[in-house]
Point group: C2
Chain length 877, copies 2
C-alpha cells in the first residue's frame, strides 16, 4: 500500500471516507481537489500508516523513494523545482490527524528556501524584502519546530534588529537587514545543534515530516488525547502543499470564512480578510481584518467565484463549511475546508433551514442528529457574552448557564441582598437544606466541595440556576475568598459559568437565553423519532417544578423525592416532632400533620401532570438529615447550654447518627423501622389522587420503594402499600391508576432483579447510588477530592457520575434489565439518576439496555428529548 | 402411595433414609423395629405427605380408612382393643418432623382411655389410682393440646383437690378423688368447647392427629423454622404407638441414656433412670433420678440387655445414640433413639475413638466430618460451666469464649483494675483504637453498638478474647448500665459468653479451655484431606500474632493490615506529623521514622512465617482515622481553647473528614494522593525481606493493593511497587520471592476482574467491604441497628456479614474468580474477609468458586482447617 497520495489521486471513493488514512486536513484537500474540482494548490499527503510505521520503527522503508517521486510530480505540475536558484517551488508542511488535535506540530511554511533559492524568489517576485522575510520566517519556524531550538533565541535576534519584540508589525526592516538576520539565525542554529542549517530541500522536507510524526507523542498532544478519549495508536498524516502567497502584492490577500454566519445561522457567508497578507496574519489578530464584503468591493470577480465555491462546498458537504483561502495575484486558491463549528442558536437555525434548502437538503433525522446537548444548553441559559478578563479558576460545571453577582457567604446575606434588589453569587463550602432560601435569592451558586450530584448541584439543576461546585482550590477566608492567587472580598462582583465551570473576577457581560423558534421545531421532530421508543420524564418535587417540566416537554415524572417536602421551612419542626415521639399518639399526631401537607403537595403535582405517570419515591434519606447537627448542639451545650427541646434533639441526633449514612438506615429500611411513615405517605398520595379523580382528573400514580435489596423486603413493603391503597380507594367508583415498583440502586438489587421483579410493576434505576456502591465512591467525598486527579492520570476515562460507567455499573444495569424482564415480561424500566440527562448515557440506556424512559431535571428535558431521538437514530451530533 | 406405615413395614430400604416421609422419630422407631429387631412397642407413622395434604385441603381422603386399618392391625398385634372396657389398648401420639423442632405439639399419652376403658385398665392393672391418674393426665393433656383449653383451668381444678399447684408430688390423691377430678375436667371441657369430652377412641385419635398437623403452623414453630432456615413446606409426621407403662409397679421404670458419655466422650453409657415412673417424670426433674448403674443393681438382666441394645445401636448408627426406654413389669422396651448431641470435647474424642472401634469403625474422613466449628470453639475457649442464674440480655456473639469480671466503662479503668489484678469486662458503646490497652487488660469486651466486623469484634477475635457486641438494649448510665430491667452498677460482676452472645449477672463459674489430645489428631487428618486443595492462612498484623497463627496451623498470612502498625501508641504522633506536613522534607522525615518502625514489624512477621507466604496490604483506611475527633477538638476550642498543634490537627481533621468514609479516600486512592506513603511501606517491607534473606531465611512476600476499581489504577500502583522492589533488591544476590496483587472488594473490581487480572499475580477477596457495597449496608450502622429486625422478619435468611450471601455477593465472587482466571490462568485467589473463618462460607468458596486459600483470625484457624477439609469432603458435620 502506498504511503503517499497526491491530492488528485483517484482513490475510487470519496477521500472524505479516508480520514483515518489521510487525516482530516488531507482528506478535505483531496476532496476539494479531486471531487469538487476547486482550485487547490497541488500537493500530497503522507498517510497515518507512515506515521505509525515511523513511530514504531523509524523512517519507513521506501518512504524516501515515494517522497522523491511525489516531489518530482509536484515540480512538474507547478513547472518549478524545489531549491531552484531561478524560480523555486516552495511548500508548506502541516500535520493532520483524523480528529483535529491541538498540541501537535501545526505548520511550516516556505519550505524549500535556501541561500540560493531565496535569490530565485527575489528574482521571480521582484521583491527582495518579501523573499528574505519569507526565508527568515522559514528558518525560525524550522529551527524552533523541527530542530527544537528555544523560540525566544530567534525572537531576541529579531528584537536586536528591530528594537521590538515578536514578528510582523509596521516598522518593516529592510531587505539587507533581513538577509543579515537570516545569517544570524543560521549561526544560531549551528551553535545550538552543532550542524549547519540544512540547505537541501529534500533534507528540509524529511526533517519537517519527522517533526510532524514526532509531535504525535508530544506531551500536550498525549494529554489532549487522554482528555478527549482519542486512541493513541491512530497517528497523524502530513500534508505537503505548494505555497501560494497572499502577501505577494496588493492583488493578493488571504482570508478565513464560514459559508454561513456561525453565530446566528443566517444564510450569509461570514469571515475575515486581509489584503497582502499571509494566513497567520489573519489568525494572529495583529492587523485589523476586513469583513468578507471587502472582497466584493476590491475583487468583485473573485468574490463571485468565492461564493460559488461556498455554494459548491455546502451542497457537497451538506453543511456549513469553515474555509481558508488565498488570493495570489488575482487568482483564488482554496487552502482548507471542513464542516464548521457553530453556536447553539446557529446550529438550531441551520439544522432546520437545511431541511428546506434549495438544490440540496438534509432529512429531519439528520437535522436532529446535528444538534448537540451543548447547543441546546446555550440557547436555554444565559451565557458569557465576552471572554472574561480574569478567570480565577475552575470548578465542576454543575448546572449550565452563566451568572454574575456580588460574592456572599451565607444564605442570610444572600436573602438580605436579594431583598435589596442586588445580584449575588452564594459561595459556600457546601450547601445543605438550610441554604435553600439563600440559593433561591442568589443568581448562582459556587461551592468548594462536592461533586455533580452534591446538594448544591442537584438543587441548582432542578431550578435551572447556574452552579459551579467542587472548586477545590477556592479557600473561604474571614473576609472573602482566595482563588488563583487573587483575594476576592465579600461583596465584590464575580461571574460564574455553570456550563464550563469557570469562575471569573468582575462583572462579565451576559447574553440572555434566547431559544430560537427552530428549537421547538427540532424538538418536535426529535419527539416524533423517539415516540413509542424512549420516553422522557422529569425529576420534580413540587407542582411548580412539575409544571415547568411539562412545559419543557416532560411526559411524566420519573422521580418525585418526597423528602424535599419534609424540608420546607414550616414542616421541619413537625418532622422533628415525629422523630422525637416514641410510637403512639404523639407520633401519630405529627404524621397526621405531615400527611395533610403532603396531600396538598401531591395534588399540585398530579394537577400539573394530569394524565401522565407520576412516580413517587417513598421517604429515602436517613432521619438524621432532618435533625440539627450534633457538633452545633454540642458546642452550644458546652458554652451557653441547651434548653429542654434542644437536649431532646441532641439525644435524637446522637441516636440516629451514622458513620456511613449512604450505606445506612435509609430507603425501605427506614420504612421497615418506622412503617407508619410509609403508610402516611401512601395515604397522602392516594387521597390526592382521589381528589383529582373527584375533580375529573386522570391521575396515574407509581409508588416507588427505594433501596431494596431482597425480594422479601420489597414484598413486605409492597404489602403495606397495597393495603393502604385498598383502604384509601375502597369507596371510589373510579379508581386512580396505581402501580408499585422499586428502585434498583444497589448492586445486590441489580443481581437479584429477577426476584425483585416478582414483586414490582416497574423498575427505576438509581444510577447515582448504584455508581457510588459499585465503585465504592462516595459522591460527597471522592468526586470532589479525587475525581479530577483520576481523570488527569487517566485512571478513569470519564467521571462515572457524569457519564454512566458502561463496563462496570452498565453491566449491572444491563443484567438487571435482562433478569427483570425475563421474570416479568413487559416490565417497565426507567432511570431517574443524574445520568438520565446525559446524552452518552441515554444512548447506552436505549441501545444497550432498552429502557422505556429516562428521567432528568426539568431544565434538562429538552436535551434528553434530543438525545433520546439521537439514540434512536443510532447517531450523535 | 400409602399415608400410614407401621413400624415394621418392609420399605425395601432402611427407614432412616425415609426421614423426610416418616419424620425423625418415626424413621428411628421403624429402624429399631424393622431393621434392628429391638423390642419396640408396636405402632405406626402417619406420613408428612398426609400432613401436607391436610394443611393444603383438610383431612385427606382415604386417611380415615387407612387409620382404622392400622389401628385394627395394632390391636391384633397387641391382642387388645382400644376402648375395650376389659383390657384396653392405650396409645401415645407424637409429632415428628424430619428435623427435630421445638414449638410443635409434643406428645399425648394414654389415648384410648374413656369412662368405660378406665375401668378395664383398673381391672387389668389392679391399680385404680394408677388408672384414674392416667385418665386424668390424658384428659388434661388432650384438653389443653388438642382442644386448646387454657391449661391453668386444669391446674386450678387439680389444686382445688390437692391444695397444691401443678401435677405430681408426694401427696398422692386417692383413686376416688382422682375419679372425681376427671369428672370435673370433663365438665370443664364441655363448658369451654360446648361439646362433651370425646369418648370414642378413634375420634380421640383423629383429634390428636389433627392437632399435630396444625401445630406445624403454630407461631413458635414458624418462628423456629425461620430462624433455622427450615423449609415451611416439609410438614410433620405423626407417630401412634402402643403405650407401655414404666409407672405400673416397682418392677417397672423408665430412663433416658446416651450410649457414651456426651460430656467427656468416655466409652461408658450415661443416663438417668427412675423406678416406677413415666418418661415425663425423668425429664421434668421433679424426682431425683438415679444413674444408669442403678439398673445394674436392681435389674441385672435388663441392664445386660440394655447394654446389648446400646452396642447394637452404636454398631448400626455408627455413632453415639441418645435413647429413651421403659421397663414394664420386667420387660425392656425401647421408645426412641437418635444420634445424640455431645460436647466439643466428647465430639473430638468419639470421632477419633470410633475410627479404632472394635467390630465397626468409621473412616478418618467421617471422623473429620462429624466435628463442628462449635465443637472446636468449645475446647479452645473458656465456657460457662453452669447455666447462668440471671441472663440479663443478649448481643451478637462476636468472639467465642466466656469471661467474667467487674463491669468497667473506660479503657483507663480497665487498665487500672488490671494493674490491681482484678478481672474486668470492658463495657463501651463502641471501641476505637484508643481502647486497645483497655481491651488488653480486660477479660472480655461488651459493646452496645456495631456488628460482627466492628472494631471491638475484629480486634477481640484477633486475640481470641471473648466479646459480645451490638447489645442494643444495653444502656450505659452515669453509674453503670441498664439491661433487661436490671441496673448493674459499675464494679459489679457480670459474665459474658461470646459464643452465644449471652450477658449474665454475677460470676458464672467458668470451665477453662481444654483441648483434648484428639484435637491435634483430627486436625492432622483434616489437613491431609484438604492438602493441595484449600489452604488456610491467618490475618495477623504482628510477629506475635503471626507466631500464634502458625502454632494453630496457619500456612501463611492472608492479610497483614499495615495500619495497625500505625496506631501503636508511639507511632500515632509520627503519623500525624506526616499528615500535617505538606510534601517535602518534613513529610519525608516522618515517613522515614515510620519506615524504620514498619521494617521491624515486618521482619518479626517474616521470622514467624518463614518459608510461608505473607500478604501485606498497603495502607487502607482514610487518613482521618489517624487524627483526633473534630467534635472533641471543637468542644475544647469553644471552652478552654486549643494550642498551636491542636489547631493544626483540627485543620487537618476538617480537611480530611468525610461524609461516608467507607466509600471515601482510602485504599489505593490514598496511595495515589500520597504516593510516597506506599513507597515507604514497600521499602520497609523489602528491607525486612532483605534482612531475612541475609539471615538465611526464606521470606515469601505478597504485596496487596487495596480497593482498586480499574485496571489502570492497579497498573499505576503496581508500577510504583515494582520500581521500589527493584530499587531495594538490586544489590541482593538471592532475591526474596515477591508477588503483587490486589484485593477484590468493590462490585466494580469483581466485574472488572478480567482486566484487573492483567496487572495482578493474585486476588484476595475482601468480602466485608464487598458485602457492604453490594447490599449498601454499612457494617457500622446497619448491622447493629437493622440486622436483627431483618433476620426476625425473615427479610434476610442469614446475616450476610456472618455467612456469605451466596446469591448476591457470592455471584460477584464467582464471576470475579471466573473472569480473573480466564484472563490469567492459574491466578492465585484467596479470601481474607471475616467469611474466611465461617464454615458455610468456606464450603461455598471451595465448592462454588474454587478458591486457593481462606484467611481468618489466628484463633479461628483450627475451625477453618476443619471446615476446609469438610468442604473438600463435600460434607458438613
Amino acid at each position: 500500500m502506498a504511503l503517499i497520495f497526491s491530492f488528485d489521486h483517484a482513490h475510487g471513493r470519496p477521500p472524505l471516507e479516508l480520514r483515518r488514512l489521510l487525516g482530516g486536513k488531507g482528506a478535505n484537500l483531496a476532496e476539494m481537489a479531486s471531487v469538487l474540482g476547486l482550485s487547490v494548490p497541488p500537493g500530497f499527503t503522507i498517510t497515518t500508516d507512515a506515521c505509525r510505521d515511523y513511530l514504531a520503527g523509524g523512517w519507513p522503508e521506501g518512504l524516501s523513494a515515494e517522497l522523491t517521486r511525489h516531489v518530482r510530480r509536484l515540480e512538474k505540475t507547478m513547472s518549478r523545482r524545489v531549491g531552484d536558484p531561478d524560480d523555486p517551488l516552495l511548500v508548506s508542511v502541516r500535520s493532520g490527524a483524523e480528529i483535529s488535535m491541538p498540541g501537535m506540530m501545526d505548520t511550516i511554511l516556505n519550505l524549500g528556501l535556501n541561500d540560493s533559492s531565496v535569490k530565485g524568489l527575489t528574482e521571480r517576485t521582484g521583491n527582495e524584502r518579501f523573499a528574505y522575510e519569507s526565508y527568515r520566517r522559514f528558518v525560525s519556524m524550522y529551527g524552533r519546530i523541527v530542530l527544537g531550538i528555544d523560540g525566544r533565541l530567534f525572537d531576541e535576534a529579531f528584537e536586536g534588529l528591530t528594537g521590538r519584540d515578536g514578528e510582523g508589525g509596521h516598522a518593516e526592516p529592510s531587505a539587507p537587514a533581513l538577509a543579515q538576520l537570516v545569517e544570524q539565525y543560521q549561526e544560531l542554529v549551528e551553535a545550538e545543534t552543532g550542524t549547519p542549517f540544512p540547505q537541501a530541500p529534500l533534507e528540509q522536507l524529511r526533517g519537517a515530516i519527522e517533526a510532524v510524526f514526532r509531535s504525535w507523542n508530544a506531551p500536550r498532544a498525549i494529554a489532549y488525547r487522554e482528555r478527549e478519549h482519542i486512541d493513541h495508536h491512530l497517528g497523524t498524516a502530513v500534508t505537503v502543499q505548494a505555497m501560494v502567497f497572499g502577501n505577494r502584492d496588493n492583488r493578493s490577500g488571504t482570508g478565513v470564512a464560514f459559508t454561513r454566519d456561525p453565530a446566528t445561522g443566517e444564510k450569509t457567508p461570514y469571515g475575515d480578510f486581509l489584503v497582502n497578507a499571509q494566513g497567520e496574519d489573519v489568525v494572529a489578530g495583529i492587523r485589523n481584518t476586513l469583513p468578507l464584503s471587502a472582497i466584493r468591493e476590491r475583487f468583485p470577480e473573485i468574490y463571485k467565484e468565492l461564493t460559488g465555491v461556498f455554494a459548491k462546498l455546502e451542497a457537497h458537504y451538506r453543511d456549513m463549511c469553515d474555509t481558508e483561502f488565498t488570493i495570489e495575484q488575482g487568482k483564488l486558491w482554496m487552502l482548507q475546508t471542513r464542516v464548521g463549528k457553530r453556536s447553539g442558536k446557529a446550529a438550531l437555525k441551520m439544522a432546520v433551514d437545511m431541511t428546506r434548502q434549495r438544490g440540496w437538503r438534509i432529512s429531519r433525522e439528520e437535522a436532529v442528529a446535528r444538534v448537540s446537548a451543548e447547543h441546546i444548553d446555550q440557547v436555554l441559559h444565559p451565557q458569557f457574552a465576552e471572554r472574561p478578563a480574569t478567570v480565577l479558576g475552575r470548578g465542576l460545571a454543575a448546572s449550565p448557564g452563566a451568572a454574575v453577582g456580588k460574592a456572599v457567604f451565607s444564605a442570610d446575606e444572600a436573602i438580605a441582598a436579594g431583598a435589596r434588589g442586588e445580584r449575588v453569587i452564594l459561595v459556600r463550602n457546601e450547601t445543605s437544606p438550610d441554604d435553600i432560601a439563600g440559593m433561591i435569592a442568589a443568581q448562582g451558586v459556587l461551592t468548594t466541595r462536592g461533586g455533580l450530584v452534591s446538594h448544591a448541584a442537584v438543587v441548582a439543576r432542578g431550578w435551572g440556576k447556574p452552579a459551579v461546585v467542587g472548586a477545590e482550590q477556592l479557600r473561604i477566608t474571614e473576609s472573602g475568598f482566595l482563588l488563583g492567587g487573587s483575594a476576592v472580598a465579600a461583596g465584590e462582583y464575580i461571574s460564574i459559568d455553570g456550563s464550563t465551570g469557570e469562575i471569573a473576577l468582575g462583572e462579565v457581560a451576559l447574553a440572555p437565553p434566547s431559544p430560537p423558534m427552530e428549537l421547538k421545531v427540532l424538538l418536535g421532530w426529535a419527539d416524533r423519532i423517539r415516540k413509542g421508543k424512549l420516553a422522557v420524564r422529569a425529576n420534580a418535587d413540587t407542582g411548580a417544578d412539575a409544571a415547568t417540566a411539562r412545559s419543557f416537554g416532560a411526559e411524566g415524572i420519573g422521580l418525585c423525592r418526597t423528602e424535599h417536602m419534609f424540608l420546607e421551612g414550616d414542616r421541619l419542626p413537625i418532622v422533628r416532632r415525629m422523630i422525637l415521639a416514641a410510637d403512639g399518639p404523639e407520633e401519630q399526631a405529627a404524621l397526621e400533620e405531615l400527611r395533610e401537607a403532603q396531600r396538598e403537595d401531591f395534588e399540585a403535582i398530579l394537577v400539573a401532570m394530569d394524565g401522565l405517570p407520576v412516580t413517587v419515591r417513598l421517604l429515602d434519606p436517613p432521619l438524621h438529615e432532618f435533625l440539627p447537627s450534633i457538633r452545633d448542639l454540642e458546642l452550644k451545650e458546652a458554652t451557653v447550654g441547651l434548653d429542654e427541646q434542644e437536649k431532646q434533639l441532641l439525644g435524637a441526633a446522637r441516636a440516629w447518627q451514622e458513620m456511613n449514612p449512604m450505606l445506612g438506615l435509609r430507603g425501605v429500611r427506614l420504612g421497615i423501622i418506622k412503617p407508619r411513615l410509609y403508610e402516611m405517605q401512601v395515604q397522602a398520595l392516594m387521597q390526592a389522587a382521589a381528589a383529582r379523580v373527584a375533580a375529573g382528573g386522570h391521575p396515574k400514580v407509581e409508588v416507588m420503594i427505594p433501596l431494596t435489596v431482597t425480594r422479601r423486603e420489597l414484598a413486605l413493603a409492597r404489602s403495606w402499600v397495597e393495603a393502604t391503597i385498598a383502604e384509601e380507594t375502597k369507596d371510589l367508583r373510579r379508581k386512580p391508576q396505581v402501580q408499585v415498583g422499586t428502585m434498583i440502586e444497589t448492586p445486590r438489587a441489580a443481581l437479584q432483579a429477577g426476584e425483585l421483579a416478582e414483586a414490582a410493576d416497574f423498575f427505576s434505576f438509581g444510577t447515582n447510588d448504584l455508581t457510588q456502591m459499585t465503585f465504592g465512591f462516595s459522591r460527597d467525598d471522592v468526586e470532589g477530592r479525587l475525581m479530577s486527579a483520576y481523570l488527569q492520570l487517566g485512571l478513569l476515562e470519564r467521571n462515572p457520575f457524569e457519564n454512566l460507567d458502561e463496563v462496570g455499573v452498565g453491566e449491572l444495569v444491563r443484567l438487571a434489565a435482562q433478569r427483570g424482564r425475563a421474570a416479568r415480561p413487559g416490565l417497565k424500566i426507567g432511570i431517574c439518576g443524574e445520568h438520565g440527562g446525559d446524552p452518552a448515557s441515554i444512548r447506552f440506556f436505549y441501545r444497550e439496555v432498552g429502557l422505556d424512559y429516562v428521567s432528568c431535571s426539568p431544565f434538562r428535558v429538552p436535551v434528553a428529548r434530543l438525545a433520546a431521538a439521537q439514540a434512536v437514530l443510532g447517531e450523535t451530533a
